[in-house]
Assembly symmetry: C3
Homo-oligomer: 245 residues x 3
């Protein structure tokens, strides 16, 4: 059993957070809310999403799992206003999802979660360096780097956090001191990441004022943020690329 009402805005943010990495996802629903853990097809990046029951105007659910086609959901949500309310209801008998928005009523077939990829195990990592920064600053650095290269270095040098990309002939570098960041826990580390993935991850994240980056020495980076006063938590884990010398 599952029946819930939510702001279109917050539902759009949730779906986009997932759809930048995967085309379909298994939603684990419980009385506490909705959780998703998914890995991209190439096993390079992982997304975790936690949408608390408190994020909804109305939320009643027993434990269940549903599989959703995110492309289809994105299509539907593209038609509605940010201020619309969305009523979502699971028909247990038919295993169809009913979505009602401002007079429109959709009935969507679900994917069988048992045929979908198992949830990934989230690795326990010691990531010594931490940066909290504005999402817009992160996106700008990623966009600038994309013009030059296909990978990007995140690192800390003393008290300076830097992001850097190097092309065949050109280079872009952003340096941010402690006072240009919201918070900094320095450590003498750096890691290289694929800009293909970063460009996707940064899209939903850039809407947030506070993005937490956790990284280490040639370790994965964890990029996480929250929306709706913490009711929606989104986190990405992105594998490093090996630096060639």
């Amino acid at each position: 059993m599952f029946r819930a009402t939510i702001d279109a805005d917050l539902l759009k943010d949730s779906v986009e957070s997932l759809s930048v990495l995967v085309d379909e996802a298994r939603f684990r629903i419980s009385p506490e809310g909705i959780a998703v853990r998914a890995v991209d097809p190439a096993n390079v990046a992982m997304v975790s999403l936690d949408l608390a029951a408190s994020a909804f105007d109305e939320f009643s659910a027993s434990d269940c799992e549903i599989g959703m086609d995110l492309t289809k959901l994105t299509d539907i949500l593209s038609l509605i206003d940010k201020t619309d309310k969305v009523l979502i209801e699971l028909d247990d008998m038919s295993q169809k999802l009913s979505i009602q928005i401002a007079g429109l009523s959709y009935t969507l077939s679900l994917l069988d979660p048992s045929t979908m990829r198992a949830d990934p195990r989230i690795p326990q990592l010691e990531l010594p360096a931490e940066v909290i920064m504005n999402g817009k600053d992160l996106r700008r650095a990623v966009k600038a780097s994309e013009k030059i290269s296909d990978h990007m270095l995140f690192g800390i040098d003393g008290e300076i956090f830097y992001m850097e990309a190097e092309g065949d002939t050109d280079r872009v570098r952003v340096e941010m001191s402690r006072d240009q960041l919201i918070d900094l826990k320095p450590d003498d580390v750096h890691s290289l990441f694929s800009l293909d993935y970063l460009a996707d991850i940064v899209k939903p994240v850039a809407r947030s004022n506070e993005v937490l980056l956790e990284f280490g020495m040639d370790f994965p980076i964890k990029i996480s943020t929250t929306f709706a006063n913490g009711a929606l938590k989104v986190g990405y884990l992105l594998a490093p690329r090996i630096e060639s010398d």
Copy 2:
């Protein structure tokens, strides 16, 4: 003889009403105004346009017919502001049309109306059900249906007008009661239509606050509206599709 001045806005609406269905059209001009009747190349939909002499700032004409390339006209109108005044004048000798807009002067060759398709005969139909609704509501239902299917059902069930589309696995349905509509003359009927055509027809129609739908049981649908306080009347007749079971 034909010489007329009109608001760019109203001329754009007129041309778009036609160009969603046909690439060229025969304009029948008389002292009362301009009338067009045209059928799309596949004979599925028909458009009728009536632009009264009163829609013009200045209008003087004797009976004549001219053939126009609508693609070319759309191109030209795309450059001008909605608030511009357009002076149109027919040179009887050269059979060219002069269009003057804010200092620009176009001279367009006309198509020979005698080589163009004859005007369609508009069938007399008894269409028992009538709905008057906001153009925006109609467009939203059509857009939502396009995401799911390539055809769409219009019907009335008791006092409820509904629009519905069904894909292989998914379904969208809009239900509107009498108080969500401007007017309703109910009848227990429904008909299925091609969304390709509906999507085109809905573009000009959606700008109107009052769109009249007339339909029956597996009969064509008539979609009509007016602009400029009735000085421009636009109507479409769209053939039904046969429902497969």
Copy 3:
């Protein structure tokens, strides 16, 4: 040695003025400012740009020449706000250019100016007719002509300046009298030009309130304007096309 700070806005205008004709350019830098002279690959049009030292917030330079990839520069500038300040600095040792904008720092390799095409010699021409007009009016005439033809005639007939394009069947003509222009020095001349080139040239020029056209009888046309109170001067010279009868 070269180090300068400039408004992003003015730098964008400068780069666009060049990039509509050429992909790379040689910048001649001196204590007085920056000058560029370049010809398009087909030798049909020439651009000259003069950016005075006074256009910069800070400008210190000794005589030098640098070759720049304009596509790369346009890419970088597309990311920044019009109100940003841009610091440009040449590293004489590495022959790299450092560009710093709001915390982003780019290091760009330069092209070797000795391998680039030599600066064109600007021909001395007697162009008897002169028109000064608003950039927007010029752009509108060019856009209207593009719909009809691939070349465009500029001419003066008595006290009337006209721009005209003729397609296979259609014609567009703009006539402007002395009071619709900012200035007119009439002469009984006309010349035909390629709309491919005019459409490109008109893009940066259209932002200016005063564009000077100088032309003659089947002679090149000179199209020039200034920005930033004359601190940036941009001029184009476009070869005529031969009129076929």
